[in-house]
């Protein structure tokens, strides 16, 4: 290595003009709309903020209890409590406009029309840097989540794409047979980037009550360190399937965790559940990653990527799990 090595560039280009100053963002539903963290721990270190899922109208969310801990993980069944897109545009976005961090609004809907409605409303609003489509929402017309059917996902994304020129990230569900297939479908339909993964369907049971802790069907979404190995495998799979940037999510709680996702093929990452037990997590992760980059003389974070993902070959031989 020459002593005049080129300077390190932490930036990440997510497409359509959206360049993050570093690849560390925070995940939807784990950071509210940014105001709590702004008051508590600051936000200026972040590459980007992904807001809580936003729907056309306000939602009260599910009845409690809404969260439950599991081994190295937590289940949530919040039920998309949010104030609706109007309040987001009128009350929140103007404050975001002055932040040194782009805010992408996570969008949820009950059908394609709702996704389009929310995204149209957000388009052109100052302070809204982009949207992330949470397609893991029950598709009222067909019963299944959009995220579980490549064709349905593609229709939803294409409709939204036609309605906006905002940077469009599509968030993939891991609760599918082949996440690569969905990733390819939404890339073809016009996604600028994909993020993976959303939560895994899980359940917690208590013996005293002989029933699930969470209400309704008893299921919730599993997040946290328990899912990190699953999310890493999903990200590597998505990386091989698409050309657009991939944002890795799942169980990131330390700088090392974030860097592992970059090795697995992610261009950027989102810190989720870790924000709950450590409001300083994202800052500690940004600092740790930048320090690692310096110590290891990286030119850009993409240098970390597992070479096999760039030049597939030898690894393709048939190892199998049992």
């Amino acid at each position: 290595m020459s002593t005049l090595s080129p300077p390190f560039d932490a930036r990440v280009d997510l497409g359509r003009g959206l360049v993050l100053k570093n690849p560390i963002a925070v995940a939807s539903g784990t950071f509210g709309f940014g105001f709590e963290a702004e008051a508590l721990a600051g936000i200026s270190h972040l590459g980007a903020i992904f807001s809580k899922g936003t729907t056309p109208l306000a939602r009260e969310g599910n009845r409690p209890p809404r969260i439950a801990e599991t081994a190295a993980g937590m289940l949530n069944s919040i039920g998309l409590q949010n104030p609706g897109v109007e309040i987001v545009c009128v009350d929140y976005a103007p404050r975001w406009a002055s932040w040194p961090v782009p805010v992408l609004v996570n969008v949820a809907g009950a059908d394609i029309a709702e996704y389009v409605m929310v995204v149209e409303r957000l388009t052109g609003v100052s302070g809204v840097a982009g949207v992330e489509l949470n397609i893991s929402c029950p598709n009222i017309a067909h019963g299944l989540d959009f995220a579980t059917e490549p064709a349905a996902a593609a229709r939803c994304v294409a409709a939204v794409r036609a309605a906006t020129d905002l940077p469009l990230v599509v968030k993939l569900s891991p609760n599918v047979t082949d996440i690569a297939e969905v990733a390819r479908a939404v890339e073809d339909a016009g996604a600028d980037a994909v993020s993976a993964v959303n939560t895994y369907v899980g359940m917690k049971i208590t013996l005293p009550s002989r029933r699930p802790v969470l209400p309704g069907m008893g299921t919730g979404g599993l997040s946290g360190p328990a899912i990190k190995p699953l999310a890493l495998a999903a990200v590597a799979r998505v990386r091989r399937a698409v050309q657009v940037p991939v944002i890795g999510i799942g169980g990131i709680a330390s700088p090392g965790d974030a860097l592992e996702f970059l090795v697995a093929g992610a261009d950027a990452v989102q810190v989720g559940t870790a924000n709950f037990n450590n409001p300083h997590a994202s800052r500690e992760i940004v600092e740790g990653c930048l320090q690692y980059a310096q110590q290891h003389h990286l030119r850009r974070f993409a240098d970390l990527r597992w070479q096999e993902l760039e030049f597939p070959g030898a690894a393709e031989e048939g190892m199998r799990s049992d």
Binding site: A41, R66, I67, S209
Partner: protein
């Protein structure tokens, strides 16, 4: 009220905690002492938080840096001493998290985030307060009693339990309490019966009520007061909900609120930001008590 994730529900119902006051401190455990069967007091050197903590507010304690348990655990401040820079918590051992706290030794360090939440409203002019507690659940009362005393308030300490040894120990009742009233269901100490049985006559003599204990007991106290001639007596309760974060981002600590008498539709509030201390009349008790006692 600042715009937050909770904007749908909080409007006009209850203010929200000021997150700008919360601090993360690496606190050193200085003492752990048993108070009663399965009740401990754990004291930390945590000067910045000790400076800020008010009665009824809570802290989120990071029990374990490995990922089990994953989340912090909420505990109300039992004491906060600006002079020696300590905060103390009452610790009931319930599960893994509290067990690990119980296992700390003096010198061990944990990360503490606080103060969080909204605490008790202190009186503007001195009068007489009733502090009602079920069983050992006195966690926030030592600090509350101390601050009330400083304000010149008279305090009645009202404690009920099934039997004498489940009562909060006499010797720990904070100094400056004017009157102590105890109920046991089996009559082994104080008056016989549930706390609600002999409460009303007592409450005729006070200006306000602070209550703390299991949600169902708080509900019974609210029911008793609100259906009596004392319906306008100010009542604040400290309630519990499972908490993912403690500062309003996870939306996990939802509690059912009732709009100020006018709106009868239940709305969702956050225990960590509009609570844990709330006016009794703000809560939708019917919904709240639907929730299983065993949260997890």
């Amino acid at each position: 009220m600042s715009p937050t994730a909770n904007a749908t529900s909080a409007k006009g119902l209850a203010g929200e905690s000021d997150l700008g006051r919360a601090i993360e401190e690496l606190a050193e455990c200085s003492q752990l002492r048993p108070l009663a069967r399965n009740l401990f007091e754990i004291t930390f050197q945590s000067p910045a938080i000790a400076e800020l903590a008010r009665p009824g507010e809570f802290a989120q304690i990071w029990v374990e840096r490995s990922h089990i348990p994953l989340l912090r655990r909420p505990f109300s401040f039992s004491r906060a001493d600006r002079r020696d820079g300590t905060v103390a918590f009452y610790l009931g051992v319930v599960g893994d998290g509290s067990r690990r706290l119980r296992a700390l030794s003096p010198g061990d360090r944990v990360r503490i985030l606080g103060p969080l939440g909204r605490g008790f409203t202190l009186p503007e002019t001195p009068g007489r307060s009733a502090l009602i507690l079920g069983g050992l659940g006195a966690a926030p009362f030592p600090l509350l009693a101390e601050r009330l005393r400083q304000l010149g308030e008279e305090v009645v300490w009202v404690n009920g339990a099934r039997t004498a040894d489940e009562l909060y120990p006499d010797e720990l009742i904070p100094p400056g309490v004017q009157e102590i009233v105890q109920f046991t269901e089996d009559g082994s100490q104080g008056s016989t019966g549930r706390i609600t049985a002999g409460l009303l006559p007592l409450l005729k003599e006070v200006d306000r009520v602070y209550a703390c204990g299991p949600n169902h007991m708080l509900g019974a106290v609210f029911q008793l007061i609100s259906s009596s001639s004392l319906a306008r007596l100010p009542l604040e309760v400290s309630i519990e909900a499972p908490m993912g974060c403690g500062f309003g981002t996870c939306l996990g600590c939802a509690i059912p609120l009732r709009a100020d008498g006018t709106n009868t539709e239940p709305v969702i509030g956050l225990c960590c930001r509009q609570g844990p201390v709330l006016r009794g009349s703000l809560l939708d008790w019917e919904q709240l008590l639907l929730q299983p006692a065993h949260l997890a």
